[in-house]
Amino acid sequence: MDLEFSAAETEFRRRARAWLAAHVPPRPLPSLETEEGFAAHRAWEGELAADRWSVVSWPEEYGGRGAGIVEWLVFEEEYHAAGAPGRVSQNGISLLAPTLFDFGTPEQRARVLPPMARGEVVWAQAWSEPEAGSDLASLRSTARRVSGGWLLNGQKTWSSRAAFADRAFGLFRSDPDADRPHRGLTYLMFPLDAAGVTVRPIGRIDGKPAFAELFLDDVFVPDEDVIGEPGQGWRIAMATTGAERGLTLRSPGRFLATADRLVRAWHAHADPSDTALRDRVADAVIGARAYQLFAWANASRFEAGEPIGAESSLNKVFWSEYDIGVHETALDLLGVEGELGGAEGAVAGQPWPDGQGQATRPVPLSPTSPTDWTEGYVFALAGPIYAGTNEIQRDIIAERLLGLPKGRR
């Protein structure tokens, strides 16, 4: 049992750190949840890709470096420690790409992955529907067989950044006569600017258009954009959502960097006699370290050939609650400045207008600026809800890891 990196891994870390030091924008980009910020983050993806840092774990032929899981974790540590921008292509990279590697055709991989790696095509997910959230298998949007492809109809919702993204992927009911709800679903990809697609941005809690509704009216999708066999969509999607909850969605590097920032803020701003706050800062440090070591243990298991299954639900519950906790502590530490942070970008009396806001976030004053914490807090609040609610995750943990009987949800 050891925590030592090989010479190759250490060299990989050194190269990643050097590249990031030379390329990470000196000032944070505008919020990812705005049109201007989205464009800036898309450009950043291109810069990463130009030197093969956007998808290090992918094979070289698709723009990656063929990095193993340990190297990926190393890269993520360096990425977040460097304060590099959020990843606008994350849904494509962490959800669609693993699906294509496992279930796609060589033609699909060659066509879809390189532009994804370069940020030229940014992907949104289209899972949830107004009547199908946690009970995803009850979804009603349809894919009807036509010559050469499928016609999509229905409504999807909570599609992250779909207002700005280029294409989307999701599940559609292709066989309404299937004997069980999760049978007869097909996994498809479609352009968000296709004829028949209407995208309506939804303002998230602070008004920024972070997600959208999609209305689909006879949207034609050619056969080449079906992933796997028609009717097998549920099985394929579940393989993907496992990846989303697991390591790939929230790397330990992100939380190590956040905890480090919190400790610096505590040293800079906190009253040392406030031991209650100190204890919470300690818990943030402990949680980040626990998450890092849990990831190393899973990476070691993965490399030893052991399967990682329902354990990804442990991960999802942990990081999503950790993320809220660490931001709550930061905002409590900052006091009223924490409240002001989010308002800096908006002019008083002109709040973010109904999901269409164009106001941009100003440059933070310091690495511990309230602005960053406020934005991070609002983002974190969604964590226990998306990627499978934490209630669903706890059901999975209880049934698959503890062996408790199934019951009514």
Partner: protein
């Protein structure tokens, strides 16, 4: 990078589990609480024979160590079986005495280590900053008081007091006795002993937590109300899922701390040990609260074995200084 127990370490855990099961360790814990120590001593001798107390001592001083990872493996099993007695304390004393020997004070080690390492005798100790009480001082052959630039062999102990956990009894050590080390030597050895005490206790908490979880999962699968197992209710499942999350994220901290301690990075080890102590203490305590609630009134009875772990989880949370002390260490490194 291979942050996994190897086959040998897993086999060690299995063999200890088998031995502690065969020795009916929970019965020994009940007897210990009633003041009957023979069964507990027998468990200790078996642990000595299995090499558990040799893990903290280097080869030059009767040991096979220092092997913190294996020590953590052992103490997870000891927690799982609610093993009674000053076991953490004996390991910490072995660490302290062998460290003193390495620092040029070999006499106390020569005198005491053979008995301690072999499991024939046990030790207990107090460490400055970790509270004034020594565990089970009435059964320990070696009473050490360490800290404040001094290590001394206490001449005896004051009245033994009952603990919240009936299997733990606490006593102050008497002043006086032979001072065996002083100055930096004493402080270094005391700091080393505290590291081992924290590691062993954190691992023991993990084992206590898993025992509580396993027993509660088994219970809610079998207990039927409203015509179905209570374990099929979401309120029950989610509570147990949270217990597993707590334990599964505390475990890598415990083994990460053991690796840091082994690899000799003192400042990293101090922070990692503190993190492990806090997280595993909290996880075990959370397991205890959930276990009691989900067992209902049955869990609240002394007769039912669950009480052995329920109260130990509470007691261990405060052992070696309160949780605030360890959290402070995490943020200040001190």
């Amino acid at each position: 990078m291979r942050f996994l127990l190897d086959d040998e370490q897993r086999a060690f855990a299995r063999s200890l589990d088998g031995m502690l099961t065969a020795a009916d360790t929970t019965a020994a814990a009940r007897a210990w609480a009633a003041g009957e120590h023979a069964a507990g001593f027998a468990v200790r001798r078996r642990l000595g024979a299995a090499g558990v107390f040799a893990l903290a001592a280097p080869e030059a001083y009767e040991g096979v160590g220092p092997l913190p990872v294996e020590t953590a493996v052992a103490f997870v099993e000891l927690g799982r079986h609610a093993a009674p007695g000053p076991l953490v304390e004996t390991v910490a004393a072995v660490a302290l005495l062998s460290r003193l020997a390495e620092l040029g004070v070999p006499e106390p080690a020569k005198r005491s280590l053979p008995g301690l390492v072999g499991g024939e005798t046990s030790a207990t100790l107090t460490l400055t900053g970790s509270g004034p009480y020594a565990l089970d001082a009435d059964v320990a052959a070696v009473l050490l008081a360490a800290g404040d630039a001094e290590v001394r062999l206490a001449p005896g102990h004051a009245d033994v007091r009952t603990s919240l956990d009936p299997a733990r009894r606490l006593a102050r050590l008497l002043p006086g006795g032979e001072v065996v080390a002083s100055g930096d030597t004493a402080d270094t050895a005391a700091g080393w002993a505290l590291d081992w005490a924290a590691l062993a206790t954190a691992a023991q908490c993990l084992g206590v937590g898993y025992a509580l979880l396993d027993r509660t999962v088994a219970y809610v699968k079998g207990r039927t109300q409203f015509g179905v197992p209570v374990g099929s209710f979401q309120a029950v499942k989610h509570r147990l899922a949270d217990v597993l999350v707590g334990l599964e994220f505390a475990r890598p901290l415990v083994f990460g701390a053991a690796v840091s301690l082994r690899d000799g990075d003192r400042s990293a080890a101090r922070v990692d040990l503190a993190a492990a102590k806090v997280a595993s203490g909290e996880a075990a305590y959370g397991a205890a609260r959930a276990a009691l609630q989900l067992h209902g009134a049955l869990g609240y009875t002394a007769e039912y074995d669950l009480s052995l772990w329920l109260l130990k989880a509470r007691a261990l949370r405060g052992a070696w200084g309160g949780v605030g002390r360890w959290r402070e260490r995490v943020v200040t490194g001190g």
